[in-house]
Symmetry: C2
Subunit: 418 residues, 2 copies
């Protein structure tokens, strides 16, 4: 069978599955998720043995240790995967919520009801746990999922999907609700991206290259996460002890994440009092500092920051530092260089706090808190399928609600258009 | 200058405008809209004289009467355009609304604030009034607009834009907030569609051909309206007098619109009692009926409906009629043939009304009301930039809220990621 037809058939199966899961009750979905968790734990040996095939192949191909680590399933990771399914079962079901309802002058009542999106395509790389995580969130929100994982994890993914589908079927949910493209050709992804009208949304998860390729080729709407070039601005009226803790946390707590700080902006009024102690503390844990001329005049013997550096997502223990003359200059800097992911101000000044919140256009804007808190769990969404740097449909951490849309519902008693 | 550079420069101007309009207060935006309305009325002669150039050119090119009518500006239409601007000024401003706010265990307060999307590209055909209408809605929601109208209306559009920009500037809003691509090459549209990261959203307004071309070529998210293949299902427990009025209104009141009924589904239990009078009434106003075999056995001398007819958006006085054995068959029919735009049930049965509402997946689902009511004004949104048949971001009538997105805002007092 040719690739195009193969992918089309899979997508049609997913679409059938979507109608089934869309009409499943919360109890039915929750019971299925809990049983999936049990089945994953019960069939752990099978998973580990399939996973070994992937690891052996990766070793033969000489793939990096980091990649092989991401690929590896062991008992602990399998238990975490199962636990994730149980946690999603425990979350409230967004489907069917009526977000607003109002009456019109002609007597009809109009409301907006939250409903599933339909078929969601997930395109991802080597982590097999994404298979279970993404599936559980999509199913809970009443959607079918069509999965296309990286070829490195093909055996592991097939094994996970087979377990999930077995349970779905036993629980009266059409298996198409969990559809896996078990074809490794890159063309299969390209064919998926053309199936507008069958697949409703694509969520790519992985590196920037994958995400750009998906966005450029997709006719289907894409929710994506590019990079996080995040800022903390230390205002002249900051509590400097708080500022130091926030900046340190934002840079150092986990530098490889998208919401870690890449550039620290410091008001010139407090720069001399703040920078020496702060930068020494950073250097003490191995952070490489790249400073603007003013920073270097206060704290010599550091590299000079370049224009390009300001656009960079280091994901590493490297920090740009710039002294600005006031908040306006900080906001200008952020408007120019930020990836609009997470930006923070540290200040005790009410007016500047409110202006910063309003004028900085990022997925999350913080007053007196670390950018590292931009996260679905930290914000209380209960789950997270990613952080969107888009502005359309979802922005910032995406939980179950972001995997739904709304439809208008109308209760009438004979209303006509005049 | 080459086309690519030309369009890029325009988009950059719009992006500058976006920052200016995003931070404008409601009063400033409203004052500008009201003054734009005044200026349009004051400079009506100039508009009409520029419009004459377009009409003369259209006549020379032998374009259709219908198109020339859509193109024509006269005093009445100019007054309506101005009135539209005033009405948008009177609507509540969606920007800055905090849709929800909650506290986290670590003491930080998290909220979602409604903010402008940024730069919205409008690609449209011959109607010059779209220039003012779309601009007013985008500006009110704090967005810059980048307009690309049909070449038939180039002189009219330029004249309208020039008036709007003059007022914007006088009111302290960066002119880039209203940017017009005054270049007629088709390539200019293609270049626009590549400017991901500068233009945030594309809304095409026009025929299916335009919309498909935009969707297939855009790297920027697109909100679109394909077709409306709408259904009314007359259930066995319908009030047959109400059913007749609703079906008649849905088909006849304005058959050329996307929310007019194309197929009437009738429960077989009441088909013999309902169809003869209903179909006679339709024929009385010139509706061509295409019936299924059962319909034809009850009401002979009508054409037989084909499978293809069920997919058709007639936008005309033609109606498919199918007798179904129960609501399940009606829902199956709608799932297969509907464009998921507007679908209605007429019934007095509580259980079936609720099931139909839940199980039919369309942008608006009606109980006992005409599909013709699927409209932003009828629903009370106060305005409408179109009806989205997409599921991502906006579904159904799009008002001002749909021209915004949200960002997370966080009030902390030193919270860190543990």
């Amino acid at each position: 069978m040719d690739i195009k037809q193969f992918v089309l058939n899979k997508a049609k199966e997913a679409k059938e599955g979507a109608r089934s899961i869309a009409n499943a009750s919360s109890s039915q979905k929750n019971a299925a998720l809990v049983k999936m968790a049990e089945a994953i734990k019960k069939r752990a040996e099978e998973l580990i043995s399939e996973n070994k095939k992937d690891i052996q192949y990766a070793e033969k191909k000489g793939l990096s240790k980091a990649l092989i680590d991401r690929l590896t399933l062991n008992e602990k990771r399998i238990n975490e995967m199962a636990q994730g399914l149980v946690e999603v079962a425990q979350l409230p079901d967004p489907v069917g919520e009526i977000t607003r309802m109002w009456q019109r002058p002609n007597g009809m009542t109009v409301g907006r009801m939250r409903v599933p999106i339909g078929v969601i395509g997930i395109i991802y790389e080597a982590r097999p746990n994404v298979t279970a995580d993404a599936t559980s969130l999509c199913l809970k929100a009443g959607n079918a999922v069509i999965l296309r994982g990286g070829s490195e994890a093909i055996n592991s993914n097939k094994a996970i999907v087979s377990i999930l589908r077995d349970v779905a079927k036993a629980e009266g949910i059409h298996e198409g609700a969990i559809t896996f493209i078990d074809m490794q050709e890159r063309e299969a992804v390209m064919e998926m991206l053309k199936l507008e009208g069958i697949i409703d949304l694509i969520i790519p998860r992985g590196g920037e290259g994958l995400i750009r390729a998906v966005t450029e080729n997709s006719r289907i709407p894409v929710l994506k996460h590019y990079k996080g070039v995040c800022h903390v601005f230390v205002d002249r009226d900051a509590d400097l002890i708080m500022a130091e803790e926030i900046c340190f946390n934002a840079k150092v707590q986990r530098p490889g994440t998208c919401n870690a700080m890449e550039t620290m902006l410091v008001d010139e009024v407090i720069a001399e009092g703040f920078l020496p102690k702060m930068l020494k503390r950073f250097e003490g844990v191995g952070v490489e500092i790249r400073g603007c001329p003013k920073t270097r005049s206060i704290y010599p013997n550091i590299k000079e920051v370049s224009e390009d550096d300001f656009y960079n997502e280091y994901l590493d223990l490297i920090l740009n530092v710039r002294v600005v003359k006031d908040m306006d200059e900080a906001i200008e800097h952020i408007a120019k260089y930020s990836s609009a992911h997470s930006d923070a101000i540290v200040t005790m000044n009410y007016d500047r706090a409110m202006r910063f919140l309003r004028e900085v256009d990022s997925s999350a804007v913080f007053v007196n808190a670390s950018t590292r808190l931009n996260d679905g769990f930290q914000f209380g969404l209960g789950a997270e399928i990613g952080i969107s740097t888009d502005k359309i449909h979802a922005r910032g951490p995406m939980g179950l609600e972001e995997l739904t849309c709304t439809k208008f519902i109308v209760f009438g008693n004979g209303q006509l258009r005049e």
